[in-house]
C-alpha cells in the first residue's frame, strides 16, 4: 500500500527514466549522457544540483534494527534535511513551497538526489539504534517549530 505512494506522485515518465538509469548503471557504468540530458529536461536546474549532491555523497540512508529507514540529505547550505523512504516527503522549504503549495515542481533537489543515489547505488549507509531513528524523525519536527 504505502510503498506505492512514490509511484502515485511521480509521473510515469520520471519512473521510467529512473529505471532506465538504474539499468544503465547496474554494472557500475557511468550514466549515459542522453539520460542526463533527459533529467535536465524534466527537472531543470534541480537536476544539476541533485547530481552535485550525489557526487559529494551527501545522501545517507539511516536504518535501525527495527527495519525502519529514513534518508538524510546534507544540503548545500550545510543544513540536513530528512526525506522519508516510503513516500514523497522532504523537510526542505522548497518542497513545502514549490512542490506542495504551488505544485510547480515534481520534486526538490534533495528528493531527486535520493532517487538518483538509489539508482547509482552511491548512497552512504549508517546503522543507528531504534531510539536514534525516532529522534531523527522527531527532531525534524522540533526544528520546524523553532
Amino acid at each position: 500500500m504505502a510503498v506505492a505512494a512514490r509511484a502515485l506522485t511521480l509521473p510515469a515518465v520520471v519512473e521510467e527514466l529512473l529505471s532506465e538509469m538504474a539499468e544503465a548503471a547496474r554494472d557500475g557504468a557511468p550514466i549515459p549522457d542522453e539520460h542526463l540530458l533527459s533529467l535536465k529536461f524534466v527537472f531543470g536546474s534541480s537536476a544539476v544540483q541533485a547530481l552535485d549532491l550525489v557526487d559529494r555523497q551527501s545522501i545517507t540512508l539511516l536504518s535501525s534494527p527495527s527495519g525502519r529507514r529514513v534518508y538524510q540529505v546534507l544540503g548545500s547550505s550545510g543544513r540536513t534535511y530528512v526525506c522519508l523512504a516510503s513516500c514523497h516527503y522532504c523537510s526542505c522549504p522548497a518542497f513545502a513551497f514549490s512542490v506542495l503549495r504551488k505544485s510547480d515542481s515534481l520534486l526538490c533537489k534533495h528528493l531527486l538526489a535520493v532517487y538518483l543515489s538509489q539508482v547509482m547505488r552511491t548512497c552512504q549507509q549508517l546503522s543507528v539504534s531504534d531510539k536514534q531513528l525516532t529522534d531523527v524523525l522527531l527532531m525534524e519536527k522540533t526544528q520546524e517549530a523553532s
Binding site: 500500500m1 504505502a2 510503498v3 506505492a4 505512494a5 502515485l8 506522485t9 535501525s64 527495527s66 527495519g67 525502519r68 529514513v70 522519508l84 523512504a85 516510503s86 513516500c87 514523497h88 516527503y89 523537510s91 518542497f95 513545502a96 506542495l100 503549495r101 505544485s103 531504534d130 531510539k131 531513528l133 525516532t134 524523525l137 522527531l138 525534524e140 519536527k141 520546524e144
Partner: protein
C-alpha cells in the same frame, strides 16, 4: 484500503465480498464527511472487519475515547475481535507525532490496520502546509513500516478520517488538496434526505487509480444502529459527481 471499506459497506447487501478477495497492496484511504456523518462508526466497523481476519491487531488512534461503541449491524461485536483493537489517545499533535515517529520501538506483532479519527483536530493545532504534509507522510511511513514487519501478504492498511468544513474556505481546500496527494483513495460521506427518526447519508467510495467507484446509503436509526445498503440507482444521477468536484481534486 478501499477494499476493507468496501467489505464493510457491503455487509448489508446479499452479495458477499467473495469475488473481491484480491489480497494486493492497497492505497491509504481518506474518509471525508461533515460533523456527525458517521465517520467514527465506519472506522470502527473497518476495525472490527480487519480484527476478524485472523491477522495482526488494529491500532485505532483518536483524540478522546469513543462515547459509546457504534452499533454496527453485520459486524459481530465478539469480545475476541474487540480485544484486537488497541485504542490510543494522543492528546496533542506533538504526542501524535511522537507516537508515529517511535512506532518502530514498540514490540509485539505489527498492526494490520492503522486508523486515525479526527485528523482535522490535529491539523488545527498546526495549520501550516508543511506540518500537514509531514503528518500525512509520517502516517504513510508508519503504515509502511508495519507492513515491512508483517512481511509478506497484505501488510498494514491505513484509513484516516477528516471532518470537512463548509465550502468556500480556501485554507482547508488547500489542506485537502495536499492530503489527497498522500491519500489517493477517498470515501465521501454526504447528508441525504432523512427518513422518519433516522439519519441518512450517501457514502461514495473512490478507490483511486483505475478502481471502480461505488456508492451506498448509510442509515443511522435513533438508537444509533447503522445499516448500509447499496445506492439504488447508479446511472444518470447528476448529483453523483458532487463529492469529487467540491473536493477540489487535483
Amino acid at each position: 484500503m478501499a477494499e476493507t471499506l468496501r467489505r464493510v459497506l457491503n455487509w448489508g447487501s446479499a452479495a458477499g465480498p467473495g469475488e473481491e478477495n484480491t489480497f494486493e497492496a492497497e492505497s491509504p484511504l481518506l474518509l471525508l464527511g461533515g460533523p456527525g456523518s458517521g465517520k467514527t462508526a465506519l472506522l470502527f466497523a473497518a476495525a472490527l472487519e480487519t480484527a476478524g481476519e485472523g491477522r495482526g491487531p488494529v491500532l485505532f488512534l483518536t483524540r478522546r475515547p469513543l462515547q459509546s461503541l457504534p452499533r454496527v449491524t453485520g459486524a459481530a461485536l465478539e469480545p475476541l475481535r474487540l480485544q484486537k483493537i488497541r485504542f490510543q489517545y494522543p492528546p496533542s499533535t506533538r504526542e501524535l507525532l511522537r507516537l508515529l515517529c517511535s512506532a518502530h520501538e514498540t514490540r509485539g506483532p505489527a498492526p494490520s490496520l492503522l486508523l486515525l479519527d479526527g485528523l482535522e483536530e490535529y491539523l488545527a493545532e498546526d495549520p501550516g502546509s508543511q506540518e500537514a504534509a509531514y503528518l500525512a507522510a509520517l502516517l504513510l511511513d508508519t503504515a509502511a513500516h508495519f507492513s515491512h514487519r508483517v512481511g509478506s501478504g497484505r501488510g498494514c492498511g491505513l484509513i484516516v478520517a477528516l471532518q470537512t468544513q463548509e465550502e468556500g474556505d480556501s485554507g482547508t481546500a488547500l489542506q485537502l488538496a495536499l492530503l489527497q496527494r498522500y491519500f489517493p483513495a477517498q470515501c465521501w460521506l454526504q447528508p441525504d434526505a432523512p427518513g422518519p427518526g433516522q439519519h441518512c447519508l450517501r457514502a461514495c467510495l473512490e478507490p483511486g487509480g483505475l478502481g471502480p467507484r461505488a456508492e451506498w446509503q448509510v442509515t443511522f436509526r435513533q438508537n444509533g444502529e447503522m445499516t448500509v445498503t447499496p445506492w439504488p440507482t447508479q446511472a444518470g444521477d447528476t448529483s453523483l459527481n458532487k463529492g469529487s468536484s467540491s473536493g477540489g481534486q487535483p
